[in-house]
């Protein structure tokens, strides 16, 4: 069997005296989409930030396997190494595009910036990549010189995805990627994300409170409540035959259209 690309063991985090997550262990395998679901305040986003090296956990370890390498603990890496990972092998898609974009430089520059950060200097190549990625996320190439603030919310979110994918990351963290979007844009974005996962072989951790989004995107689910993982398993198993009382409550609370 293949080895995990990302793994954490007994991760616990406190904000002061406030527990955010407790004893979380998980493995993410290459090419897999793992959904983390649960209500607001259940510790989903904290866990995601710990896994992405943005927060150092109070206790426990997070390990990542670089291309062709073995799992290495983030705590054994220098800050510079983690920053390099965040710019190359990893991508982080924020819920609000403005947290992941620079709103006062052009769309093309937003994409190109990540390339320049890893040493690309050829303007023609950078612009060509930017246009290629705009097309990948279904944004008209003519908008390459426009500022992101002239884009709609859905376009901004797609631009954020393009900016993240330009360095060919292997691991993508997504925090409520469809959160603030209207449903028609949401459907298109879900289709786009699924296509990119399949064609690029991405491994994805996606935090969402929307079980329908989780069902369509992820093959496995983790259910969190009050900082604890209360259930994990295949997506269809967790949603069709939830075992934990809280998962049963969550599933039975889905609104039918």
């Amino acid at each position: 069997m293949t080895a995990p690309i990302l793994s954490c063991r007994e991760v616990t985090h406190y904000y002061g005296s406030q527990m955010a997550c407790r004893n979380v262990s998980l493995d993410l395998y290459p090419g897999e989409v793992l959904g983390i679901v649960g209500e607001s305040g259940s510790g989903k986003t904290t866990l995601l930030k710990i896994l992405a090296g943005q927060i150092e956990p109070t206790d426990g370890t997070v390990s990542f396997a670089k291309k062709g390498g073995a799992l290495t603990g983030l705590h054994e890496m220098s800050e510079a190494e983690i920053r390099l990972l965040a710019r190359t092998d990893w991508a982080f898609v924020h819920q609000h595009p403005r947290d992941g974009l620079r709103m006062n430089v052009s769309a093309g520059a937003n994409i190109g910036e990540r390339l320049m950060a890893i040493g690309d200097r050829h303007y023609g190549n950078i612009r060509a990549s930017a246009i290629h990625w705009l097309e990948q996320v279904e944004i008209d190439a003519e908008r390459v010189d426009d500022l992101p603030r002239t884009f709609s919310g859905g376009m901004q979110q797609r631009l954020q995805i393009a900016r993240n994918l330009v360095t060919s990351p292997r691991l993508v963290f997504m925090d409520e990627p469809t959160g603030g979007l209207d449903v028609s844009v949401q459907a298109r974005l879900l289709d786009l994300i699924r296509g990119l996962v399949r064609t690029l072989g991405l491994s994805v951790l996606v935090v969402t409170h929307d079980l329908a989004v989780a069902r369509l995107l992820s093959s496995r689910l983790i259910v969190m409540q009050g900082g604890n993982v209360v259930e994990s398993g295949l997506t269809d198993q967790v949603l069709e035959d939830p075992q934990a009382p809280y998962s049963q409550l969550l599933v039975s609370s889905i609104l039918q259209v």
């Binding site: 069997m1 395998y29 897999e32 028609s184 459907a187 298109r188 879900l190 289709d191 699924r194 399949r198 069902r215 369509l216 093959s219 496995r220 398993g233 295949l234 269809d236 198993q237 069709e240 035959d241 075992q243 934990a244 009382p245 049963q248 409550l249 039975s252």
Partner: protein, 232 residues
């Protein structure tokens, strides 16, 4: 005959935590063996646990007790004890599951939905689409609908799209949950033909058919789940 699926002492019950911890038993102590080239029609009254048995085999329902072993890559894998990645691998290459309900992302064209399992197994897009189109023709989905999302289709059309998707790639073991329910006579015959062809090509099948004639037409043997319960 070579067995491809062995269930021994399987039980399944549901604990409804939100409704006073009520325990509802689907079945217990169930034994069943499926052989290559066999087509088994599940019978028994509504609520006897037929669909639950299929979901247990597919890994959607975790078993309360017992083993659900599937011959995958010439090795036995116990679905009841398998890791999620093992179960996913078994589903990708060994175990097909077709229901009457379609669950898809809105706005994805019908032909892409049917072609998806082929692409996931590594077929190139052109081959996958042409196989998908053949199936859609057979299942009488008009060509003008192929580029549209099936969410706008009628119930029967959605069901046929789902069947086309289920039969796009061959599986050694096929689980069918009422594939012919609510289809007209002509389309029902197409589905029965597809099943018969898969079985003739070497797939083993377990199916639920409400219609006794349909069940008799495709199955080589019947299994009455209500009589299969062992005294616990």
């Amino acid at each position: 005959m070579t067995p491809v699926l062995k269930i021994s002492g399987a039980s399944k019950s549901f604990c409804l935590h939100l409704q006073g911890q009520i325990e509802i038993e689907a079945f217990s102590g169930l034994d069943f063996t499926l052989h290559a080239g066999e087509a088994v029609g599940l019978s028994g009254p509504s609520g006897a646990g037929k669909s639950s048995l299929l979901k247990l085999i597919y890994g959607t329902y975790p078993a309360g007790a017992g083993k659900v072993e599937i011959l995958h890559d010439r090795k036995w894998v116990d679905i009841a004890a398998g890791t999620p990645s093992q179960v996913m691998d078994v589903r990708r290459r060994t175990l097909g599951y077709v229901t009457q309900f379609l669950r898809v992302i809105p706005r994805v064209p019908c032909v892409d939905i049917v072609a998806e399992p082929l692409i996931e197994r590594g077929a190139d897009e052109k081959t996958a689409r042409s196989r998908a189109q053949d199936l859609l023709v057979r299942l009488n989905i008009p060509e003008k609908l192929w580029t549209l999302s099936p969410l706008t289709f009628s119930g029967g059309e959605q069901q046929r799209v789902n069947i086309a998707r289920g039969f796009a790639t061959p599986y050694p073991i096929l689980l069918l949950d009422e594939p012919t329910a609510s289809l007209d006579a002509e389309n029902r015959q197409v589905v029965l033909d597809l099943i018969a062809e898969s079985v003739a090509a070497g797939s083993a099948m377990i199916g639920i058919f409400h219609d006794a004639d349909d069940r008799a037409a495709v199955s080589t043997r019947q299994f009455d789940i209500s009589r299969a319960r062992r005294a616990a």
